[in-house]
């Protein structure tokens, strides 16, 4: 830390690679202006292109203004903001709030709604996250179909920099802060049915803590405990667990029949039946997803 060579290497890393390394791209970039000036057999002359551009801009602004004015007109004719006779607050809301405590056992009506009455919807949302990670993996994962020597060299360089450049202040602070973030995330997940929060927010907090750790100590140090295998295992097991427990609940008591799962005392941490289990599943999926995005973006692998 401190020598000039390391410093310049670090600056290179921050600025991305030096341009001569990516000669292919710079070659492509150089050809752009000549291509526009040439205007070969295609009829798109610069003048025509500019006319199209101006027309496009004017049309876009006009469309936006029309949309905004129509929406504003609609807004002024909506039922009053904040009035209790709003048509949105109908008998469904009354049912969710008044019967929610005894039917689901959740003190937080939002958690009771999204994880009990509408749990199937939340299952779809968790699957969306899973599929999103799958798509990002398809695009960015570095496997035998998506590999080049330049990138390998770049990744090797970054790995060396990761090892050499250590920031003591950042690392000491992260060592103190990360356990607190994780503790808060776990608290938010486990208290999803009692207080604001739940699987989505707690999972995002845990994922952010993992990202912070990975950003300061390098993704290698996280990879020792959290790699592709654990990622796959945790997400699939959490999704399966969600699906199975909700399927059981649908099978036995979706209409308020006996489920055999005790609801417990409202307000206790072990209460409200399946909501706690589902919260934990969702939290694990979200945390894995967030870290998976980061890791795939940074290195192309988890």
């Amino acid at each position: 830390m401190g020598t000039n060579k390391q410093r310049s290497r670090f600056i290179d890393w921050v600025n991305g690679d030096t341009p001569e390394k990516i000669h292919e791209y710079s070659y492509v970039k150089k050809t752009i202006p000549s291509h526009t000036e040439q205007a070969h057999e295609e009829v798109i002359t610069p003048k025509k292109a500019r006319l199209f551009d101006i027309g496009y801009r004017i049309t876009a602004v006009a469309v936006c203004l029309v949309v905004v004015s129509v929406l504003l007109y609609t807004v002024f004719n909506l039922p009053l903001f904040g009035s209790p006779n709003n048509p949105a607050s109908n008998e469904v809301v009354e049912r969710y709030v008044e019967k929610g405590l005894e039917e689901t056992g959740a003190v937080n009506a939002v958690a009771g709604m999204i994880l009990d009455y509408r749990a199937f919807d939340t299952f779809g949302e968790s699957s969306v996250l899973f599929i999103a990670v799958g798509c990002v993996m398809m695009l960015l994962l570095r496997d035998k179909n998506n590999i080049s020597a330049e990138e390998d060299a770049l990744a090797e360089k970054e790995r060396i920099i990761e090892k050499e450049v250590k920031d003591p202040i950042l690392q000491k602070i992260v060592l103190v802060v990360t356990p607190c973030i994780f503790m808060f995330g776990i608290y938010v997940v486990l208290n999803g049915h009692l207080s604001p929060g739940g699987g989505f927010s707690g999972g995002a907090i845990m994922g952010a803590g993992l990202i912070l750790f990975a950003a300061s100590f390098g993704t290698n140090s996280v990879q020792r405990i959290f790699n592709m295998k654990t990622f796959r295992g945790i997400t699939t097991i959490a999704l399966m667990c969600y699906a199975l427990s909700k399927a059981y609940s649908f099978f036995t008591g979706a209409n308020g029949l006996e489920t055999g799962i005790p609801l417990g005392i409202p307000g206790a941490i072990l209460s409200s039946g399946l909501i706690l289990v589902l919260d934990i599943c969702v939290g694990l999926i979200v945390a894995c997803t967030m870290y998976g995005f980061y890791s795939l973006f940074v290195r192309g692998e988890i």
């Binding site: 602004v61 807004v75 904040g82 949105a88 709030v97 929610g100 509408r118 997803t289």
Partner: protein, 127 residues
């Protein structure tokens, strides 16, 4: 005039949501840079969430977390928009991550993130 002002004050959140939607939509159409397009898409997303959540708000009532066993529905706001938006926020971040991954691949192929240049290069490649 005072009537109009009164209406604006009443519908402040809805009007803000519509204005943000307009800003996001206009920039989505006009910006050339793909990263800016994604940011404006995110702004459109959150404006819609703001509109939904403001529809569920009721003056003088508190968040639907039951305290002291009071289960009367006239004490709490509408929990349904909150539940919908909660899942929507998390889906929006995964959508923008997918967009960013696409941008990354486009940069790897064409060496730029400007929309016009990408289209030009793609046309040239197709010839």
């Amino acid at each position: 005039m005072s009537d109009f002002l009164q209406t604006v004050v009443t519908f402040r959140f809805e009007i803000a949501a519509v204005i943000l939607f307009g800003i996001g939509f206009m920039n989505l159409l006009l910006q050339k840079n793909l990263i800016r397009k994604i940011i404006s898409f995110n702004i459109m997303d959150s404006s819609i969430f703001l509109f939904l959540a403001s529809q569920g708000f009721i003056d003088g009532r508190v968040a639907p977390i039951i305290v002291n066993g009071v289960t009367d529905a006239s004490n709490y706001i509408n929990p349904i928009p909150t539940g919908l938006v909660l899942t929507g926020i998390v889906v929006s971040v995964s959508v923008s991550a997918f967009f960013l991954a696409l941008v990354h691949r486009l940069y790897k192929k064409y060496g730029t993130v400007e929309f016009d240049e990408i289209i030009m290069l793609a046309k040239k490649e197709a010839e």
